[in-house]
């Protein structure tokens, strides 16, 4: 019998980590208990996107959105909603600072302002069942391509759509395909870069988790266009769920004859191998990635010969990232015109003339609504952070948004009305990057953030070229010096000089972009550097050597009644005071770990 209701339970990494599979089991057992198993079906889907409120579930066809579910809620929920037809208010989403819950998912601002192309199937299909993907139009595009388009038609269409690389660089995809196709030789490779190494980014993981077939289909179309029969997906080993779903999807596609010899019984062979990365950030760089597939250390090479000419095993290779591939089937189905109608600029004459389609971002950091979003190009950062993201947590003040991961930069409040566009973001010193977007608030120190990213690229530098290996090291030394209060004015000058040197002389993009976080913070938040250097103060209260913890005696006694919790937790025995009496911090003993600040329920502890 047909089901009347579907419970779409999110099984993305975030929700699974929050025990969504237990929620699913409990739902199924409660439904069975009430004899509803033939009417109500529980479906596990890929990442819904609203990771902040997981584990979550959407009830269809009503579109009711349930959040922060606990196993103990489920019996009541099933009885109320599916037997008696009354949605459970307590489990609905209520926006921060508001009182009335929003029952329908489509009315929640986080979802209402998004445009879905890449993530069009998220929350609608079970990614482990190929038929569900097909039911939503999966593999229709490759069918269309194989029956009615030549490889050149496909390339023309991709070029006209204005699709540009979503991995960060923004290179026009159609041109890449065209160049690769023209290269001589009977073996050409296509590669999907799923080595999503930027810390704070999880777009590609979620895309694979929620719709692996879109990626496979995109690669099929690309392979047909450039004349390839063999493809690779290079995926991070740290993503077990994505890896498993991808492998399942490939297996199912093979069983249906959509991968392998004679795809759809046409004269076109293509198959995909999955290769796992082994935890090296630099392997997101195309030449390093190819080296790693070949079983070598992931060290980039100079690219005076491009990979489209000589890539994997020295054969012409077309590498795109997950999101780029996932866009391709929709462009084929709905046409280049449709795709080019979304976004900024004009790409009819110049492929670099605009940013088209949508971009998936992982929104994280100090915003209320962390999660995965897909927005049209050209949307402003302000809209992303304050409307979709729901503003800054705990009523704090926005300080900066970091886009592009370790290769990107920090964007201050004054530039929040900047549209999301490859060129615009580059102009202000940041970049589109792969789509990580981390928001910092007044409690984050910009010098510390710059140091964080630099220490990341410094550790991840493969060590092949000197500017990156040594330059970033010396920059990190200077930043370290500044954060412990020993920096001088000259250090700031030297830091800027070194940054420019590393940008100009590094071998690959890792080094070439590593100084961006430093350069942008120096540009937009110079006063914070100066506070560290001149006044030996850390305005973000993060740099340990420059802060002190103190307890407000009034609050401690009046509100907390000397609860003694801080003293109990202090690892250094630095908090003096008896229970029910006022407590104080012994500055000499304090190791500044911050646990007292964390455990105090009365906000009696302050940082200066």
């Amino acid at each position: 019998m047909a089901y009347r209701t579907y419970l779409m339970v999110c099984a993305g990494t975030g929700c699974v980590a929050n025990q969504s599979m237990k929620i699913k089991d409990k739902l199924e057992s409660e439904i069975r208990k009430r004899g509803l198993q033939d009417e109500v079906s529980v479906v596990t889907t890929g990442c819904n996107g609203f990771c902040a409120v997981g584990p979550l579930m959407v009830v269809q066809p009503d579109g009711i959105f349930y959040q922060l579910l606990k196993e103990t809620d489920i019996a009541f929920l099933v009885e109320e909603h599916f037997v008696k037809g009354r949605p459970v208010k307590e489990l609905l989403y209520t926006p921060p600072k508001e009182k009335i819950p929003i029952p329908k998912m489509s009315d929640i601002p986080f979802f209402a302002d998004q445009t879905l192309i890449v993530l069009r199937n998220r929350g609608l299909i079970n990614p482990e069942i190929i038929d569900e993907s097909i039911a939503r139009g999966g593999y229709e595009a490759i069918a269309k391509v194989l029956t009615s388009m030549t490889p050149d038609d496909v390339i023309r269409e991709i070029k006209a759509s204005g699709l540009r690389g979503r991995g960060g660089g923004g290179f026009p995809t159609g041109i890449k395909w065209e160049t690769c196709k023209k290269m001589p030789g009977d073996v050409h490779y296509v590669i999907c870069n799923a080595d999503e190494g930027d810390p704070g980014a999880f777009m590609d993981r979620s895309t694979i988790e929620s719709d692996p077939h879109a990626v496979i289909e995109g690669m099929l179309i690309g392979a047909y266009a450039i004349g390839s029969t063999e493809g690779y997906v290079y995926i991070r080993n740290e993503y077990p769920i994505a890896l498993e779903r991808l492998q399942t999807a490939i297996k199912q596609a093979r069983e249906y004859g959509l991968l392998g010899k004679k795809v759809f019984n046409k004269d076109f062979d293509f198959d995909i191998k999955v290769v796992r990365g082994a935890g090296a950030f630099v392997c997101g760089e195309s030449t390093a990635l190819m080296a790693s597939i070949e079983g070598r250390p992931g060290e980039p090479r100079a690219k005076y010969v491009h990979t489209v000419e000589r890539g994997l095993w020295d054969k012409p290779t077309c590498l795109n990232n997950v999101e780029t591939w996932a866009n391709v089937p929709q462009i084929m189905l709905r046409g280049a015109q449709w795709f080019a109608s979304i976004g900024t600029g004009d790409v009819t004459a110049d492929p670099w003339g605009g940013s088209k389609g949508t971009k998936v971002f992982s929104l994280a950091g100090k915003v209320n609504n962390t999660g995965l979003i897909e927005v049209p190009m050209g949307i402003t950062l302000r809209k992303i952070i304050f409307d979709i993201g729901g503003g800054i947590r705990d009523g704090k003040k926005f300080k900066a948004v970091q886009t592009g991961g370790p290769s990107g930069g920090f964007i201050p409040e004054s530039l929040l009305d900047l549209p999301v566009d490859y060129e615009e973001l580059t102009k202000v010193g940041s970049m589109m990057g792969s789509g990580g977007m981390v928001v910092a608030d007044e409690d984050n120190c910009m010098v510390d953030m710059a140091k964080y990213f630099l220490s990341f690229t410094q550790t991840e530098s493969c060590g092949k070229c000197v500017p990156c290996r040594e330059g970033t090291k010396r920059m990190l030394d200077i930043l370290e010096k500044i954060t412990v209060g020993e920096g001088t004015e000259e250090d700031l000058v030297l830091l800027e000089e070194l940054s420019n040197m590393v940008v100009e002389s590094s071998l690959c993009a890792l080094g070439g972009s590593a100084p961006n976080p430093v350069l942008t913070t120096l540009k937009y938040f110079r006063e914070e550097y100066e506070a560290h250097v001149r006044n030996k103060k850390c305005p973000g209260h993060s740099c340990r050597k420059l802060i002190t913890y103190a307890i407000d005696p009034q609050i401690c006694v009046d509100k907390g009644h000397g609860c003694h919790v801080c003293a109990k937790n202090c690892p250094d025995g630095a908090i003096i005071g008896e229970s029910k009496q006022v407590h104080t911090v012994d500055v000499m003993k304090c190791g500044k770990c911050g646990i007292c600040y964390d455990v105090c329920k009365f906000d009696a502890i302050s940082v200066e």
Partner: protein, 149 residues
Amino acid sequence: METQVVENILQRHPKDQSSIIQVLLDIQNELYYIPRDVLEYVSDYLNVPLSRTYGLATFYKAFSLKPKGKYPIAVCTGTACHVQGAVKILEQIERELKVKEGETTPDKKFSVETVRCLGCCGLAPVVTVGKNLHGKVPMSKISKILKQY
């Protein structure tokens, strides 16, 4: 040497030099580290010079040449976790277990390391213990979490 485990893994991959990283990954997943004799055996089998296998095993972060604890603890230090205080979380774990990052407790129960982004930034700060992921971890709950194991 865990001959059977290693043999099974080798059978799963083509006998080709390019399989080396994939083989080492499987060994790491099963044994939680790569013992020296296994490294030598795999090198021989795939006809890769030991120096190169060693190079790979030290270049890539996924590999460890030292045994880990029964429950390897990984503190995520991705950007989202960093802004939510990952460093403080790491220090608290180090204090609780009285070991430093990269070390294993004397009873071989826990080992502590950091990872760069597990991709669940919505749950920051994130810590994995063995195969379990703990999200939105407050500093004050660390000892409680560790006691579960």
